[in-house]
Amino acid sequence: MTTPFLDANFALNVALLLMLLAIALAVVRTRSLLAAILLMGVYSFVVAAWLMVMDAADVAFTEAVVGAGISTIVLLGAILLTHGEVVRVNWRLQVVPAILVLVVGGVLIYAAGGLPNFGDPASPANSHVGRIYLETTYGDIGAPNVVTAVLASYRGFDTLGETTVIFAACVGVALMLGFGPRVDTAPTVDVMGDHHVVLRVISKMLIPLIVLFALYVQFHGDLGAGGGFQAGVIMAVAVILHAMIFGLGETTKAFRPGVMRSISAFGVVLYTGVGIVCLVNGGGFLDYDFLFTPQVEAMIPPGLLGDPDKPHHWGQHFGILFIELGVLLTVASTMVSIFYGFAGRTIEAIKAERGS
């Protein structure tokens, strides 16, 4: 075995970072905002591939789903309501921002020299709290995926905050753009002519599979990469795809905007409710070891999850399951609500344009 001319991992890193640089420059240079949005989607995919090279599967998954998937859709929705071209501004107005960007970039590049090396076992993140998580997670929680254990159990309070932020985003977009089309007035726009039959057939085949994949990501979250956030976005994408292919009217019949808003709030309530049950049973807030009283725990059949002899942390297991379900409900319904908000406004804008 001869030593390779170039370390494959190093070459891959350099290639991906150069691609990121090229895409970033293209985003800056393009005049069309539509092209910029699509390039940002490509950028997110390359970032996801790069994170995958660094073995951060959960983060890569989130980046691919959120960065490349849903934010592209939301930004495209925003573009439909505004101008699609960059407005030229006087160069004098750009001097101060340019200086600011250069200074901040310079500081960041300077500070990057002080960071520990990638994967350095002696770095503070890896030697204190990260090491303790890795050592104690399997004994404490029993979830093979440490990322999910940290996110849902050790740092459950932080994740509650994130879920609430997503709900707040739902409320914010609804307050700005309205609550989407009303069911009775939503026009069944025949956006697709007859020549889109291929798209319709394939979508009909794919939408159930997308939902199935979302459920897999959801319930596989404590075994592999994934969890409520990714699964929620994938599920929302299935609904949005349905709305794009079959018209908004059909989709709002199946997923009513009002129901979506209620589910968005219900997810946060479910999450908080799990915490309150733990509190009532004598533990701390979101301390899943106290989720079930001993009487309830005795009722769970010992062979429910595989090996009956292996001790299971039922409270932890079900606590993570419930709060991930809350996250899924909030994220999915929020994304659908935001899409409804944009889509309802777009229809109004098109109508106004035709009327005038």
Binding site: H195, H196, V198, L199, I202, L206
Partner: protein
Amino acid sequence: MADALHWVGGGLVAIGAIWSIMGAVGVLRFPDVYTRIHAASLTDTGGATLMLLGMAFLAEPGIVTLKLFFVWAFVMLTTPTASNALASAAYSSGHRPRIGNFEFMRGNDSPEAATKGESRP
């Protein structure tokens, strides 16, 4: 035997990569929307098929082969559909094919004009 499979798989992956590069060159060099979509869809279908086939030869036969087959099936379902939707959208927004029409070679060959096409009468 294993060595032969290794070479076959590696060769197929390399051919798939070259195929994809050819598609990328086509996207940059072809004159109008439809021919560019054709070039882009070649990377998605032909290049991906060759690479996945090569990977199937490189991997141990088993669950990985099955997963690669499913990846291939999804790629073959989705990317031709995307190409079809793109071409369909281009057609209904008034782009006309330029192959067989040599206008773009006479002075009017700015990249702007080549991508935009003319609106239908």
